[in-house]
């Protein structure tokens, strides 16, 4: 038996040595930098371009080869995995998840100085994204791409029902009228509805509707959730009406009944391509998969409907550098590459949302890709929306964004399943988010001082508003209200 034991022990040592010798780092002659990202086929080409860019910009070995090797880590892209790995000190060097979310855990390296030195500070991208790249004046990330939520429509589907594509910009009444006409023509009476105007009423659409009435989820200083408001209740009620009364949006049961499989971009894209959805609310990255279909449809782009203040969400897949990375300097080269012409041209060509540099959206290659005439007219509209109506989602430093998302989604589901009235759900949403904020403050005394300072500022803002005075713009921390106050003429710009 002891020989078996010794044999097993030796076998384990041998296997361990072999594993160590065959580790990716050991097989590369240059330092390896890992990039935790989504499993998008476009990443392969982006890595190739990066290696070329390294050589072109002099980041090379004495033999003229790229000084580092960038490798993908698509398995560990999930947020909870990244956080657990990050706090344990074993994560990939570059992450492209939400910067403010990860900075809550202090997991990202401050890249302000590198960004200034290597030319990828926030002035090289959309101004609307500043809140998603920096925290307290320090830059933590740079966009890999920029997405703006719009309705991307299938003009062929509309033509099939002898309808013209909807207008670029529309109010709620127009949206509802066209939607009813569309589903009325598309679904034979007495049969199960299989064609819908657009995808389901999700939190994005409902919050955009509330914002279009001047209500954001947080107040001006991000210290309190303000969704206990008839404007949010109205958008919840509208979502319910469109789903269960007008049937212009699919219910959860309708959505789950489509026999499609998810792929890159989700199931909605297949349904959109085959005409089950007239439009889908999504970013430009949907074109990556749409172009793979044998006959991609003719496209048009419409903004999300609004009541009074047209707006939409803008977001970014921003790359940041892991604070525990041993290759921070080399990782910063990658972020510099993201601001380069080579990378922006690549994003323009493969349609992975909008390129980080707005200047890249003014080219003919972006506006009229010769191989995709069916998309003409949509690209510049998406880019224009990013610079005009798009505002980032507000994030309070006193609550985890994932908690906000979960609370809002559950309350929307309660309305959709008839468990709560819109007013109850709106009240409950605000109560729960505010409870969570208070809990965070109780748990993190270091946040308390900042909170109290902001709460005092909020009182001053409220007082100014009551007195009809203009509010200094730098008092307002919520990106939505910064724009909304300017729009309403309530802001005193510096």
């Amino acid at each position: 038996m002891k020989y078996v034991f010794v044999f097993c022990a030796l076998a384990l040592v041998a296997a361990g040595t072999l594993t160590k010798l065959t580790e990716p780092d050991a097989r590369s002659p240059v330092p390896v930098v890992y990039w935790a990202t989504d499993p998008n086929p476009a990443r392969i080409e982006q890595i190739r371009l990066f290696h070329e860019w390294l050589v072109k910009n002099g980041y090379t070995t004495p033999e003229g080869k790229p000084a580092i090797e960038l490798r993908l880590d698509t398995v560990n892209f999930d947020s909870s995995k990244l956080i657990v790995q990050g706090v344990s000190g074993v994560a990939a060097d570059i992450w492209d998840r939400g910067v403010p979310d990860l900075e809550n855990y202090s997991l990202l390296a401050d890249i302000t100085e590198d960004a200034r030195r290597l030319g990828f500070d926030t002035s090289h991208t959309y101004p609307a994204l500043a809140d998603l790249l920096s925290v307290d004046g320090k830059q933590y990330g740079f966009p890999c791409n920029v997405y703006v939520v719009n309705f991307w429509g299938n003009a062929d589907t509309f033509a099939k029902y002898k309808m013209k594509p909807p207008p670029r910009s529309w109010d709620i009444e127009t949206f509802e009228r066209i939607g009813k006409e569309f589903v009325g023509k598309a679904n034979p009476p007495g049969k199960r509805r299989t064609v819908f105007f657009t995808s389901a009423a999700n939190a994005t659409l409902l919050r955009v509707l509330a914002r279009s009435e001047g209500l954001d989820q947080f107040n001006e200083t991000l210290t309190k959730c303000t969704l206990d408001d008839e404007r949010f209740a109205r958008s919840l009620a509208m979502g319910y009406k469109w789903t269960y009364e007008d049937h212009i949006l699919p219910s959860a049961a309708d959505e789950s009944s489509f026999a499609t499989q998810a792929g890159y971009g989700g199931t909605h894209l297949s349904l959109f391509q085959q005409g089950n959805y007239g439009m889908i609310a999504i970013g430009r990255y949907m074109l990556i998969r749409l172009r793979d279909f044998a006959s991609p449809p003719r496209l048009f782009l419409s903004h999300l409907p609004y009541v009074e203040f047209e707006n939409t969400f803008v977001g970014t897949r921003a790359a940041g550098i892991y604070a525990g990375s041993s290759r921070k300097k080399e990782s910063a080269w990658f972020l510099a590459f993201l601001a380069s012409k080579e990378y922006n041209d690549n994003i323009v060509a493969d349609a992975d949302s909008l390129p980080p540099d707005p200047a890249a959206t003014t080219t003919e290659a972006f506006r009229h890709p010769p191989e995709h005439p069916n998309e003409w007219g949509t690209h510049e509209a998406a880019a224009r929306a990013a610079q005009t109506i798009a505002i980032v989602e507000s994030r309070s430093p006193f609550i985890e964004p994932s908690s906000v998302g979960r609370i809002v989604n559950v309350r929307i589901q309660e309305v959709m399943t008839g468990r709560a009235t819109p007013a109850q759900a709106a009240k409950d949403t605000a109560e729960r988010i505010n409870e969570e904020i208070q809990r965070t403050l109780a748990e993190s005394p270091s946040l308390r001082a900042r909170y109290e300072e902001l709460a005092a500022l909020q009182e001053k803002i409220d007082q100014y508003r009551r007195e009809g005075k203009k509010v200094p713009l730098d008092w307002i921390k919520n990106p939505f209200y910064r724009r909304y106050y300017v729009h309403k003429g309530w802001a005193q710009e510096n």
Partner: protein
């Protein structure tokens, strides 16, 4: 004591052999366990306490536990967990029935093979009829019919081994794969379950419309009366147990509380017009009066307060579940006319996308998994150990098959049943995570979020590891107490 060199060498060798296992256990089981217990008493939050941010870690005492008890979601998720656990008795019964069927010789004998062949021919003809009736699109139905035919044929040739393997299949199939399969089966519009139910419900809807409303109301009331009868039966049994000194005061009171629970909850689910509140009031008053009468009545035999607690809770718990089933039936019967009057006719449930059907849908799936699980194997093993002499003696005494089951098989299987109940209850309290994560994300509106899923969301979505550990240890405490209870009060009946 002096150790000889050979003995020391032998000890070292033995320890060396054990070391990998012991080290593995210490590193990957004991250490995390103890560490999580410590975490449960701290304010450890990944946002504040990690290798990049070291805010002061505070000893929180029982703060995490007290917060948990005041958290409204905790009670909802505990309720969800308990609701899903109500499927356990059905699962156990299913696995027992399956085991009894599979313990017989199912190989095709001269006569039996003809029965199977006739069944297969009927199946083929039925499938043909479906096709002729224009059901060609429902390929899944035909596929299922074909599979049933194949299974019958396989069973004819291979006997119970084929069936045992097939029934055990769910257990060794990866959980996520089966959950995805069930998600497809539950598809509201295109799933085979609803495809099969739809025509049935359409016909049923016509029958309901033609039925006088009084009949349906009568059925609804009959179910409620059935509930009351169950309560009465249980009270009589409890009362007898009290009188004979088989049940103490605590056992009677707790058993009564269980019996009362459905009627009390009926007040929440049924409006005045449907008599829910009246029924609840009547049942409640009946229970309270009966309990009071039982407690003050002179007893023939005295016993401890907790005497017969296991029996009382088990007996009343099963009847409570039966009452819930009757209550559900009553509600359905009362709602049938409105459902049938729907312009679209009677429609099948939306299963996992409906708040009200999501939990029953998961229970049905759990039942399917339970009947072919390890429980079935345990019962099969238990059945093979029942002495045949007992059956022979029972037969000689003229016992019917049912009497043989109740008086021979069931008592002989008591130790196995006890073990299965204990393990199922533990599994039930800890379960639900994979299903919620894969099928529903805990929704709709939190309907399928169980305690284990709650631990995950708190630990990995909000980063509150201290709090998540607190929930996990509360769950452990719950499991421990229930198991302790099972051992203390259930084991006695097994040994009796």
């Amino acid at each position: 004591m002096s150790w000889s060199r050979a003995k020391k060498r032998s000890l070292a060798l033995g320890l060396a052999f054990l070391a990998p296992n012991i080290l593995g256990f210490l590193s990957f089981t004991l250490f995390p366990l103890v560490f999580s217990l410590i975490l449960a008493f701290t304010n450890w939050d990944l946002r504040l306490h990690n290798i990049f941010r070291q805010e002061t870690l505070r000893f929180a005492g029982f703060e995490n536990f007290s917060r948990l008890l005041t958290e409204r979601d905790f009670w909802k998720y505990l309720g969800n967990t308990a609701f899903l656990m109500m499927g356990i008795p059905f699962g156990i019964a299913g696995s027992l029935i399956t085991a009894i069927l599979l313990s017989r010789d199912l190989r095709g004998g001269s006569r039996r093979i003809w029965v199977y062949l006739v069944a297969v021919v009927l199946l083929v003809l039925g499938t043909g009829a479906l096709l002729l009736a224009g059901a060609g699109a429902t390929g899944m139905t035909i596929l299922i019919a074909g599979l049933v035919g194949l299974i019958l044929m396989g069973g004819t040739l291979g006997g119970s081994t084929v069936y045992r393997t097939l029934f055990y299949l769910p257990h060794f199939t990866a959980g996520v794969a089966t959950f995805i399969l069930w998600k497809k089966l539950y598809n509201p519009h295109t799933g085979p379950i609803n495809n099969a139910l739809r025509p049935l419900l359409q016909s049923f809807g016509s029958v309901i419309q033609a039925t006088p409303p009084g009949v349906l109301r009568g059925i609804a009331w009959a179910c409620l009366v059935g509930m009351a009868m169950l309560v009465l039966t249980a009270l009589r049994r409890l009362s007898r147990a009290w009188r004979d000194g088989e049940a103490g005061r605590l056992s009677v009171v707790l058993g009564g509380a269980l019996l009362l629970a459905p009627a009390a909850l009926a007040t929440r689910w049924a409006p005045w017009s449907e008599g829910g509140l009246a029924l609840a009031g009547a049942a409640g008053a009946m229970t309270v009066l009966a309990l009071a009468a039982a407690i003050v009545r002179k007893r023939e035999f005295r016993c401890r307060h907790d005497e017969g607690l296991g029996f009382a809770l088990m007996f009343c718990g099963v009847l409570m579940i039966a009452q819930f089933a009757l209550l559900g039936l009553s509600r359905v019967a009362a709602a049938l006319p409105a459902m049938a009057a729907n312009p679209d006719g009677m429609t099948p449930p939306e299963w996992i996308t409906s708040y009200y059907w999501a939990k029953p849908a998961i229970m049905i799936m759990g039942f399917w998994g339970a009947i072919g699980s390890n429980n079935m194997l345990l019962y099969l093993a238990g059945l093979s150990n029942v002495p045949q002499d007992l059956y022979e003696a029972a037969s000689i005494d003229g016992a019917s098959p049912m009497q043989r089951f109740w008086n021979v098989t069931w008592p002989q299987l008591a130790p196995v049943t006890f073990f299965i109940v204990v393990m199922s209850v533990i599994g039930g309290l800890q379960g639900g995570f994979e299903m919620a994560r894969t099928m529903t994300q805990g929704g709709p509106a939190g309907a399928t979020t169980t305690l284990s899923y709650f631990v995950y969301t708190q630990g990995f979505e909000t980063g509150r590891l201290g709090y998540a550990s607190g929930i996990a240890w509360t769950l452990f405490l719950l499991v421990f107490l229930v198991t302790l209870f099972n051992w203390k009060f259930g084991n006695k009946y097994v040994n009796d």
